[in-house]
Symmetry: D2
Subunit: 355 residues, 4 copies
Amino acid sequence: MNFGSDNQSGVSAAVLQGIVDASSGNAGSYSNDEWTGKAVKKLCEIFETDLDAFFVSTGTAANCLALSAMVQPWNSILCHSQAHIAVDELSAPELFTGGARLVLMGDDGAKLTTDLLRTTLSRLPTDRPHNQIPGVLSLTQCTESGMVYSVAEVSALSFIAHEAQMYVHMDGARFSNALVSLGCSPADITWRAGVDVLCLGSSKNGALALEAVIFFNRALAQDFDLRRKRAGHLVSKGRLFGSQMCAWLSDNHWLKLASKANAAAKQLEQKLSRYSAVQIAWPVEANEVFAIIPQTLFSYLKTHGVRLSDWYPNSMPKEMPIGENHLPVRFVTSFSTEQSEIEGLSNLLGDFFKS
Amino acid sequence: MNFGSDNQSGVSAAVLQGIVDASSGNAGSYSNDEWTGKAVKKLCEIFETDLDAFFVSTGTAANCLALSAMVQPWNSILCHSQAHIAVDELSAPELFTGGARLVLMGDDGAKLTTDLLRTTLSRLPTDRPHNQIPGVLSLTQCTESGMVYSVAEVSALSFIAHEAQMYVHMDGARFSNALVSLGCSPADITWRAGVDVLCLGSSKNGALALEAVIFFNRALAQDFDLRRKRAGHLVSKGRLFGSQMCAWLSDNHWLKLASKANAAAKQLEQKLSRYSAVQIAWPVEANEVFAIIPQTLFSYLKTHGVRLSDWYPNSMPKEMPIGENHLPVRFVTSFSTEQSEIEGLSNLLGDFFKS
Amino acid sequence: MNFGSDNQSGVSAAVLQGIVDASSGNAGSYSNDEWTGKAVKKLCEIFETDLDAFFVSTGTAANCLALSAMVQPWNSILCHSQAHIAVDELSAPELFTGGARLVLMGDDGAKLTTDLLRTTLSRLPTDRPHNQIPGVLSLTQCTESGMVYSVAEVSALSFIAHEAQMYVHMDGARFSNALVSLGCSPADITWRAGVDVLCLGSSKNGALALEAVIFFNRALAQDFDLRRKRAGHLVSKGRLFGSQMCAWLSDNHWLKLASKANAAAKQLEQKLSRYSAVQIAWPVEANEVFAIIPQTLFSYLKTHGVRLSDWYPNSMPKEMPIGENHLPVRFVTSFSTEQSEIEGLSNLLGDFFKS
Amino acid sequence: MNFGSDNQSGVSAAVLQGIVDASSGNAGSYSNDEWTGKAVKKLCEIFETDLDAFFVSTGTAANCLALSAMVQPWNSILCHSQAHIAVDELSAPELFTGGARLVLMGDDGAKLTTDLLRTTLSRLPTDRPHNQIPGVLSLTQCTESGMVYSVAEVSALSFIAHEAQMYVHMDGARFSNALVSLGCSPADITWRAGVDVLCLGSSKNGALALEAVIFFNRALAQDFDLRRKRAGHLVSKGRLFGSQMCAWLSDNHWLKLASKANAAAKQLEQKLSRYSAVQIAWPVEANEVFAIIPQTLFSYLKTHGVRLSDWYPNSMPKEMPIGENHLPVRFVTSFSTEQSEIEGLSNLLGDFFKS
């Protein structure tokens, strides 16, 4: 019963077959292979626009290389205080951008709001050359609380950002989960809503190692080949990424995988919310369930083979105090979550609360 | 007929099967998977010593992350002027090391010699804090001319480097080709000969994307997990690398692949050296053949479907002037070079020179 | 009537004479002059310990070079959210440290407390290699609110920092003002209280351009000559700094200058606190007075030739809400503040409130 | 008898008076003082064009900040192998540019030639994104051999550089010495000859600490205020620089100082060239004399109180082999070289060779 993280899941059969098919025979190196070309073309179709796309092996590389193309070292990057770039990527943002600074907003795990963004911008000192100049707004889709920004929300935040001469970056490590949750078109929730650069994550949704940096604002892509090379992220056998992306995008495979993951999370939520001792922290809109549970339950589940993570207390909703002997936790589902895992967890919950 | 580069070759069947086998089911993320653990253990056995090993996706990342663990920004890195780190990795050495400087030695493609190293060291200004302090000697095995450093040569160069308070780095992008050429043990040509850190390349010899940074000098590995993460090179599904390395090292698979590649180069050399209009530039000791050929032959081969590269004129031996209408070229063989490719090339040569 | 900033003041006659005396004749370059040597020796006497000291031209250079000697790029630097390094030094901390991250504590202008430090440390995620490792606690003496850390406070904060494997940095841009306010010995408020590195500012207290980076923890100074040179901060005529420091330290000149500045601030406070419409925001412990005043008063003073700055609303005490049509302001005094300036301001206040 | 370096000289009386005059009273901080404004205006007049100018305290800062405004980290900077930026500024070029690479040309101390530049450019590999893209040509005026580029030479080199999409940087640490040697206008030898950015050094010619970064290509100056601040080079009391520059430029003071220095070097050359055992290495065109002398003479002079430096053997002219028991040396004169120093040296030479 693995609800630890979607990056602990394996590779979907279709994506693996894509790798296998591309692995024999010669092919142009450094992205000059047929699969990479096809994959970029497919992205253009899916996003209904001309775009530049580059593939790398990790989300940290995708995010931080993207940011480096959007800021100068004297700019700041505004993001949620729980953002992956703020919490989980060590000092990679600083390395890649040459020292741009993150400005953190919000102190619990909910989404960024236009109010929060406006207030933050109004409070930032603006005395050149002493103060950073805001350069990028970075949104995470889904958010670190497993919630999803609507088209209207992204549009409103982007509008403010652009008005303030900032670019908009979207960390889409779980973009496909958000997309199927929203049910809108990929274009509507990205460039049509003002997103300049999207980091589209596949590794958490069925790929082996694949992240795409997608430039809707193509002027920003001008030097990206150099940035990627300079950071050691230009793999010699580019077919590794091209083949995965081709397979992942074919026949809506990526969306089907995400739908499976999201459905599993919904089921999980239902199982959990049967018990009054369990509080669901945030609306379950994608493939993550955050909850506050008794510590004894946490131990019980661990002991009985459930993988899940305890989570940051200060990321929980302000209006939901963490009771004594209680613990915030995170359950993550993925395309490969089995019905039996859900049932197994459900049974453990029943056993625990019965006693 | 592909003699363009060994990074245009595909993946060996055994390595691919390794990836396939590891791709289903859950596994710990961020290198906490069983394959990564096994791979490191296997490396310890093969190199007959305790070592620290980290896997990344590109040779540039391997080399430059390794160097970053060996120098401060005010150190210099001594290497051949044709070294991959000097010629083919953009400014990655500078990015990763925070600005250490490469000091280039030698002006044609042969190997570094103790004389050259001693002379270079004796001429470097040493006025602290105005001048860089030599920090690393970087050797490439095989060299950029397809030649191989002997155990005695590596030992002698390392001795001088260590005497001068420098560490020794080995860029082993084609280490396995060198190893089978030497016929010695992996330990003898690395740590026993004074190498502190080896970048062991697999991508050019049958893997899909796999480079290992191997610390024989384990004190240098202390912060490497942080360095790798900070550069976005810690992949979430570490099994990608672990599984390849396990398969690659099993049953001497890596050595068999390299032997095939080397043997093909030897055959190629024989075919080429039949013709007096073709000059073999350097002894063929591994899987590359450098030659000076008529420009018309180059065009003829290209037209008839042969992939090969023209090469840097100033990398050719000083005593072998490039005749008018002649061109330096590079042929590379790999584990997947077919006998039919060699014969095909041989026939083309015959046809060309007959006419 | 200049209460704008102490860096708008001129040079004290004694310091200027020091520069003049050192300006003729030949002298060793790059700090190899007699004044630099004497100045370091004098600092050893004053701080009653062996120390390493280096002189640079700006506070930003002093702070950020010092920090670069105390952290790795994957460390974090904990400081108050109003700290000069956080608010007024652009991205210099990131440039010099290679990308270490500032962690900001506190949201109004008061001092750091042990509670705040402990809470912050307890909340920082510690999942290596994904999270920064706390490396330095940076204290500002005087604080950005013109207050002074006591020996007990510095000691208690340092104790926690050292316990958490962090070094302690003190930004002493106004250290001399703090020192005369405390009335203790320089040693007591620095190394005896746990400070590893002090940036001792002179530019705001009578010098022309002079900041000293003083290493009590001498192991940290090991590469500082290289760090300073690499950042272009090794001036060729080092006598510029050496001569100023000799004059500044002679006959307690630095302390006399600071006492004058502090006394002027006290007077100013008295003048201001006569009026109920003026709220003194923080205890006046050195040479700055922070107050909340009517906006009309601010305009009146400006119009009548008073230089002062409006200040950050969110730096004011939480328990002192800023009334409508009111404004937080900062008055700074210096060694050169004239009695007539105080009286002039006093008269303006009288005139304003009379009407 | 100090012929060690012009940075060991003191401050000219007029420049010192400028500092003294500006040191009392309040003034705007961070370059917002009257002297800085006047100095920039004066530079516009002298260079007969609109320009942007920024003042810093060291030549390393001037050069490397200037270069950082002219290149990206994936660019290269072409310069002579003996250039100050290559030999005497540690890794500052890399720090400030974020890792751009120096490409060194020439192996003895003479000037760069168009032939050398063209050959170098033609040999640089151009495989994007693997190779650096040439971004800047950096010239040193006077050269490291004390020679002067003519207007025609600078123009021809700049033409090639611009044709190759590179900017032209001039390290003018001894620009005033070159200028009086050439007898042309400042405009003719800089922007009219294609120079985009000039680093104008004053510290070696009568100032205390003063270097100007002058942008003739004003588009490149756009972010320079931020670059300077980020590197800790924005001094709070900008009058330090402004006042020196005003005094230095007034009444052709800078040119008079340089003329004195150059004349002293000419005298020195005459004294030295009387003796056949002394070989003058390069034409004496400014304020430096390079010579090859007997080692016994070197010791004799040192013992008798002469300061001079031994110099790099490989910087000497190829056609002038260094005889056994001989040594290359450098004599530097300055504005403050006394007639008595020349005569003193002359007498020592006489005594030495008589015996």
